[in-house]
Point group: C4
Chain length 275, copies 4
């Protein structure tokens, strides 16, 4: 089990540098941290990610042109920070038990798809710095990094909660699929009925089924922009029924999720006190 | 127990054709398939149904006139596919245990109302192909077929989930009816109050109780198009109270459904582990 | 225990008229009927009430002036029907066990406040017939009658469901009050913040705290008419936070009600199977 | 244990003044009152607070200029009432067991931060009276007082309910944080996608990511003002998916809270009947 050059000193008693690496490891790697939330260092990383996303978003706003030089400077600071952080992740990686046990390929963290994501996000922010403009894709990559910093840790309480929510949704996926299928059929039926009722009066907004579907989805989710509203009596009756159905569209998934979370809580308690 | 001509070879050892029919049966008939979702072939059918609905919907959109010849070709392909699929369903039907045990009339699948639905949907798509136009009714028929392919299977996990959701709604139908009755009375009361408060100022939108009811239903379901909004102080107080009541209109059914699903989960667990 | 003249024949063996009265009693009085929903006769009454409300509402619509004579005729039919129904209720009343046991004053049904409501509603519809116009108050009175026909029966399944819903709301009234108190404080805080942020730019819609409260209530309930929307950056940040809080405003009561209904179901089951 | 001069007579048998102070204490101090809601006197205080907030809010409305002198008079009455109330709270304080046991500094009520809040609110209302204008900050201070009168009592049923709601939210804070994190990421992703899809057509409303975020938050919370709506086909597809996701944004927290409240109810019952 030969290690690579960056952790030659592994079997030796940890020197000053070794102790630093161990401390840095426990801060950076989610497997090395067991608190409720992230480690202070990862919290700082998350904050910098959010800050750099904000800066990139503000860079797209022409009304803030006066701020742009400052935002680019902020992005540069973030880019340098992320580069140092990436180097740190590569350096501390050999401390991870996964690294030793599973070999190079299956590593998570600075290698594997996590590392690819980190590298892509790093490339994205340097491109933003170089061109002095914010890009949606680059911000998305950073958001994905944020998600993984938050969630992918195996032992923080936040990661456990995320797994719990994901499992609850997964367990009830068929019931949720049924309620969304019903919603989809109601959406189609409402679109077709509205197209028939209103196309003569408002060809611009109800002149075809796809146009009526825009109205349907806006009504069924109770968003209700008001850019497409029925004016005929028949259309308003259809719209009223569709709107009432929107209550079911929210109540059914809410009820399904409530039962899933209740069930998860009860199983957790039963596991703790078997009788 | 004489069989019809299309399954004369039933008692004979299954030949090549017989094995094909048996395989096709297990793919096409929901009683012959026990996976979580539909069989691959039925998934393909569902996909084609969705595709043909989309094509018919897009055919009604004048802005896509350039696409119409391609959409008609797509519809033609779908129509041929559905015709072949229907023939296949008729051919494999004798494999079904229901067919033998219950006789011709009570059959489900290509016979009975399912078969009528299939035939009507088939006629609908051929009419669409012939006239080169999409029709709402025809798309609705196909959507109903989609629903039955999804749901009517007796043994897929999806069909069980659909039955579970339906049973939960059915068990709590009286409580749901109570909450919708209360919502209906609030809707009427809000309409009447708003008609009194706003009819002098905005006769166009609040000049009669039916017109005020349009506002009520849009507000009580929190759709809020904005095509009818109160401008007087009294009207705004009434509207505010109505809007606050809308929270109850969602919270009550959501709570009722949550209890129903929780109860169903607990009964299911009790059935598995009686103590 | 001398009875009044309308049930002199009470102690005598029931003749033809007596049997009719008994049958009519079991149809009209909610104590005499034990089905899931209302008796056929009371269902007809409920239908007539709904029909007469609809007619009165349509009478207020000037666009339907051509229909008005027919609506007045329909109202006249309803008025005659309700008069006969009221006479019937008075006639069958002595069959009620309450009538005998409790004396004249505490009677429910055609006497007591129920009877007063019936009489007022009867007066209302005759006034509508006489003037040929629909009145909101009269329609409200009939709606209240509808509510009592639905709910006040002691033994139909619908009435039990209504009591169950009412009890669940009543049991959790303090938790609901807490969540609405928090919502009210957020509403006030959002109004004040929005008034400060937007009053200079849009004095018409945010120029005072009461005007900003109209925006708050429309946003916090997610109705969102769009007649008052922030345009400054600060206003939009405040509006975004207020809108996000609206999720809590729905989720908290929904969760509280879900727990209340779950609890009620479990108590009901425990009562049936004590161990 | 030397007491201050305002309760010299404490060890003496309570005279007329002492009995008055004891009665006033049990009315004013939340520790001295054990009913379901507040004591009658505290209810009056809460009503005066609400009234004075209303008066201050109405003072900002220019359309009600004719009412302003009356509103200032009402505020003056409230200010005098609050001053007397504050003096009363100081006077009865020595009756509190906390006062004796814990010394001056850790007192709650007219001292500690509660007292500071009371004093600030008192200063605020006198400033309003002096200048004849309503101020948002002053109304906020009074609202905070209202909150504390409602909630901070240790033994009213309302305070227990508030603690129960708070604990349920606190226990599930990580699951709620997960669902809001997912919502935040969807919000960012929708903004970026919409910015790409619509910026060329509607630069005013979708010309930058921050502008698109305004649309996102309005859509994702289903407020839907309609001041920013997509017009391109791609934008409408993105908007439809975002709107459908809004169902999850409500259903997840509602389900989480439902499970939390159910769990709290069951633990409470288990504590009462251990088997």
């Amino acid at each position: 089990m030969r290690e690579r050059d960056e952790d030659q000193d592994e079997d030796a008693p940890p020197g000053r540098l070794g102790r630093l690496r161990l401390r840095l490891y426990s801060q950076l790697d989610s497997d090395g941290w067991h608190g409720e939330l992230m480690s202070p260092l990862n919290s700082a990383v998350a904050g910098m990610v959010a800050l750099s996303c904000l800066a990139a978003a503000l860079l797209t706003e022409p009304a803030l042109a006066g701020l742009h030089p400052w935002l680019v400077r902020l992005l540069t600071v973030c880019a340098v920070f992320f580069t140092v952080e990436f180097a740190g992740r590569v350096w501390v990686k050999p401390e991870s038990p996964h690294w030793r046990a599973l070999g190079w390929r299956s590593l998570r963290g600075p290698t594997g798809w996590h590392a690819s994501l980190d590298l892509l996000a790093l490339a994205g922010i340097w491109i933003e710095v170089a061109t002095g403009a914010g890009y949606g894709l680059s911000a998305m990559l950073r958001l994905l990094r944020l998600l993984r910093v938050f969630v992918s840790g195996s032992d923080t309480a936040m990661a456990r909660a995320a797994r719990e929510v994901t499992r609850a949704v997964h367990e009830r996926r068929l019931e949720l699929a049924v309620s969304f299928t019903v919603a989809g059929l109601v959406l189609m039926a409402a679109s077709i009925a509205m197209y028939v009722a209103e196309r003569a009066v408002q060809p611009e907004v109800f002149g075809s089924i796809p146009r009526a579907m825009w109205w349907s989805v806006v009504t069924l989710t109770t968003v209700g922009y008001g850019d497409a509203t029925p004016v005929t009596a028949a259309g308003r009756v259809i719209a009223g029924l569709t709107a009432l159905f929107s209550v079911a569209l929210v109540a059914l998934p809410a009820g399904i999720m409530a039962a899933a979370f209740s069930d998860a809580l009860q199983r957790a308690r039963r596991r703790r006190d078997p009788d």
